[in-house]
Amino acid sequence: MEVGTGLYLMGLALAAGLGLPLAVIGAGLGQGRAVAGAMEGMARQPELAGRIQTGMIIGLAFIESLVLFSFVIFFLLQGRLPTVTP
């Protein structure tokens, strides 16, 4: 195997493996902040809990969809990796 191909495959494997966890770290922090804010709001004003919860779910879905985009990219990259029989 040539050096260039090896480097390409190494980069591909690293990108496929590392991309999703990085996205998950970011989205986890973001969702944590969103839920914390929503919970605080609910504790302060329990009468608005329903509306805050709806908004929170929408926000969480938006944050989550970013992870899912990188999940789709992960599958695209994974499909390009060759299968190796040891």
């Binding site: 709806t54 879905a61 899912l68």
Partner: protein, 236 residues
């Protein structure tokens, strides 16, 4: 990203979901009573939930969008739940199904926006004419068009990737842990069970998110101009 299942299987399962929903609707609207029984009460609770949701998100004229949002919710929920029953397959785990649903929503939103504002007002709204300095308008027009085009993409990929991801994780857990353990030691431990419980939650949440985003897009597209100005005046 390819499935190991050919696309028409998803279409067949989507057809089964339609059939289930049609039977559900026929069964629950037959023999309606003034004093609802148990079943009719259940169905009315579903309807009222979406009625309240549409009124609170879109406003008083949002009642006409209840059938669309409710149908989307029930259809997506049925599709998602079909993936949890063993011989079944979630039709929403295919990009074909979700993209079709998202295109229905987005095209309907554009039609409603044109109906609410007129064809000139529709394009004016894209450029935010009258709300921003005239020099920024062309730039905003481009940004708005791009974000409008991004809506069906994000709607469809959100639902598809959720369902597809759940299925892939289930499959990975089965092939990596459950099957080898069973072959070696005949221990039938369902390692995929926690993921399927999570999938049950995701099925409801994603169906809800899809239909409420439909309502939000409709609300943004049909908001009245007077209200808009008033809201801006209050904000300043």
């Amino acid at each position: 990203m390819e499935h190991h299942v050919s696309p028409w299987v998803f279409a067949v399962f989507a057809g089964i979901a339609y059939g289930v929903l049609v039977i559900f609707a026929l069964f629950s609207t037959r023999n309606l009573q003034k004093r609802p029984g148990r079943w009719q009460n259940f169905v009315e609770v579903i309807y009222e939930f979406f009625d309240n949701l549409a009124v609170s998100v879109v406003g008083e004229h949002g009642r006409k969008y209840v059938p669309l949002a409710g149908t989307l919710f029930l259809f997506i929920l049925t599709c998602n739940l079909m993936g949890l029953i063993p011989p079944g397959l979630a039709p929403t785990a295919s990009l074909n199904t979700t993209l079709a649903l998202a295109l229905i929503v987005i095209i309907y939103v554009q039609i409603e926006a044109i109906r609410a504002r007129g064809i000139v007002g529709y394009f004016k709204h894209f450029a935010r004419v009258g709300e921003v300095p005239i020099l920024i308008s062309p730039l905003l027009f481009v940004i708005e068009v791009v974000s409008e085009l991004a809506k069906p993409v994000s709607l469809s990929i959100r639902l598809y990737a959720n369902m597809f991801g759940k299925e892939q994780v289930t499959l990975a857990l089965i092939t990596a842990f459950a099957v080898p353990l069973f072959q070696k030691a005949y221990l039938p431990i369902p390692f995929q069970f926690p993921v399927m419980m999570l999938g049950l939650l995701v099925a409801f949440v994603q169906a809800f998110v899809f239909s409420i985003l439909t309502l939000i897009y409709l609300a943004l597209a049909t908001e009245h101009h007077e209200e808009h100005h008033e809201a801006h005046a209050h904000a300043h």
